[in-house]
């Protein structure tokens, strides 16, 4: 659909329903009687204002393409181009724009305008689809009249096993308002099929996941963070281990979009947490072609492979945030992706001193994947507020907490070698005299989250780490 060209002279957009538009009718008549051509567009009543030859902008095409947000709006057009505009009734501005200082002298000096019909919340999605749909290049799939669209999407293999929201043009265009990026921008190359994914395809899958437009920058950052050689989503997907991308969100934006960092932080009930993680996984499935039983070879998988995304409780944390500890400036939004399994609980309801609590964390962390395997896997320790309070009261900062836990996880090779303690699994026998740490340097990530009651924390175990497998990746979230 071509964009309407505004005629030279003055263009005035009004609607009868607007009191300020009715107020300025005498001014419009004054202008109409002058020497400058005046074209009036009316959004609702074709006969309003009477006697000025108003053109009915019935489909709101002129209003939409001229970005009319308020009526009345006056636009000065020269050689087909807008050179000035004013809206509402501000007498001085109307005088300045028209070059006439005899307009509306009997009217009050100022009256605010009304919302344009072209930005009416009940109409805007349909208008965006009608006039902006051409920016979308995805193939259109029509469902038959008698076909259940939800079943149709299951049948096409587009879902993760749960119903998805139908990605109509209206919904996808609304989703795209959540980013300043162009729909055709390529964001990443998605494994395993190594296909370029555009902002548009991400928006389509974000709609299906149930995201709001304001979540879209977080989904885009998530896709960027997992689709690279460092995070290695190909391996995370293909492995027989039960891991998927765990997304930890930081920054004031997490609160602006209503993410949960508190009670039931890993659980059900929060739309942003659940749909951002779900959208990233739907993109791996639908764009990357990564499906269970195909390239995804997980022995057990875990429920978090549908979505595992949460925010850090920065407001209640005694420490710098995870993102800051990984180089992001304070106050910036960021995500950190980690190849993780499901969370497990650490219970210690007795410890009131930090040393004792560190002993518990070390004992539990040692068992990660196998008590006799070291250095091969990273982990996130998600500390609950009732545990972090013990460290805060003792004045321990993030580094001190991690150092003390690491110090308790220096393990004698004699306990780790294959066959020791009657367990075949373990490290090679020649390392029996070595002392080995459970985690490589930087291999234990500390996050503060969870509800205010309960002396519990959680451990999220990782997967093959380092250059062999996967590194956690942190990326800033930008509009």
């Amino acid at each position: 659909m071509s964009t309407p060209t505004l005629p030279d002279g003055l263009v005035i957009v009004v609607k009868h329903e607007c009191e300020t538009c009715r107020l300025v009718v005498p001014v419009i008549s004054q202008l109409k009687a002058g020497s400058v051509p005046v074209t009036v567009y009316t959004q609702d009543d074709p006969s309003f204002p009477a006697g000025v030859g108003a053109i009915h902008d019935a489909d709101l095409a002129v209003s939409w393409h001229s970005d009319i947000e308020t009526v009345p709006t006056v636009i000065k057009v020269e050689n087909g181009r807008e050179v000035a505009r004013t809206f509402g009734w501000v007498r001085d501005e109307w005088h300045a724009l028209t070059g006439r200082n005899d307009l509306g002298l009997e009217l009050p000096a100022f009256r605010p305008g009304c919302g344009s019909l072209s930005v009416d919340p009940d109409l805007v999605d349909a208008l965006r689809a009608r006039f902006g749909g051409s920016v979308l290049s995805a193939r259109r799939v029509e469902t038959a009249a008698a076909e259940d669209e939800f079943e149709a999407m299951f049948d096409r293999g587009w879902t993760d096993g749960l119903p998805v929201v139908p990605p109509t043009e209206e919904r996808v265009l609304r989703m795209l308002t959540g980013t300043t990026r162009t729909p055709s921008d390529v964001v990443a190359v998605v494994p395993p099929d190594l296909v370029e994914v555009t902002v548009e395809k991400i928006a389509i899958n974000a709609v299906m996941a149930g995201c709001k437009p304001e979540y879209l920058p977080w989904v885009i950052a998530g896709v960027e963070a997992v689709c690279n050689d460092t995070f290695n989503i190909h391996g995370v997907l293909a492995t027989t281990m039960p891991v998927g991308p765990v997304i930890v969100c930081n920054g004031p934006g997490t609160r602006a979009i209503g993410m949960n960092s508190g009670m039931n932080v890993f659980g059900q009930g929060n739309r942003a947490n659940l749909t951002i993680g779900r959208a990233v996984q739907l993109i791996i499935r639908n764009v990357g072609g990564g499906r269970p039983g195909e390239v995804d070879r997980a022995t057990h998988g875990n429920p978090g492979k549908i979505s595992f995304c949460f925010a850090e409780d920065e407001v209640g944390s005694p420490w710098t945030s995870l993102a800051e500890s990984r180089g992001v400036a304070p106050g910036h939004d960021a995500i950190t992706v980690f190849p993780g399994e499901g969370p497990r609980c650490v219970v210690d309801q007795q410890a009131r001193d930090p040393e004792s609590l560190c002993n518990t964390f070390a004992a539990c962390l040692r068992t990660l994947h196998n008590p006799k395997l070291v250095l091969a896997f990273d982990a996130i320790l998600v500390m609950g507020p009732e545990h972090s309070r013990v460290f805060a009261e003792a004045g321990w900062n993030r580094e001190k907490v991690l150092d003390e836990i690491h110090a308790r996880l220096q393990l004698p090779g004699s306990e780790l070698i294959r066959g020791a303690n009657g367990i075949a699994e373990g490290i090679p026998a020649h390392l029996k005299d070595a002392t080995l740490p459970k985690f490589r340097p930087g291999g234990l990530l500390l996050v503060h989250a969870g509800g205010g009651a309960g002396l519990f924390s959680a451990i999220i175990g990782g997967w093959a780490n380092g250059d062999v497998g996967s590194q956690p990746v942190t990326r800033e979230v930008t509009p």
Binding site: R139, E169, H234, G235
Partner: protein
């Protein structure tokens, strides 16, 4: 009727003709790719021994890590050196 936007990569699958199976491995260059899984070399050592006994010229290749696809240079090297490739995944 609802019009939906396709969430997939919209790729069309290409079918490619397989090279015919050789009558014999005698004198052919056979590539063995080690994906770097623990003890994969034990299996491949035995395979190399058996193939060599059949007259094959066995060449060994190794991926840097089992978690990532073989680098393009490695795939190219195998393609230009070998007439037969045994591709397998261990776990």
């Amino acid at each position: 009727m609802t019009t939906l936007l396709d969430p997939t990569n919209e790729r069309r699958v290409q079918t490619m003709e397989r090279v015919g199976r050789p009558e014999s491995l005698n004198g052919l260059v056979v590539g063995l790719l080690d994906i770097s899984k623990p003890r994969g070399d034990v299996f491949l050592d035995r395979l190399e021994q058996r193939l060599s006994e059949m007259g094959a010229d066995v060449r060994r290749f190794k991926k840097p890590t089992f978690t990532k696809p073989a680098p393009v240079d490695l795939r190219h090297e195998i393609a230009i050196q070998c007439q037969v490739v045994i591709e397998a995944l261990a776990d």
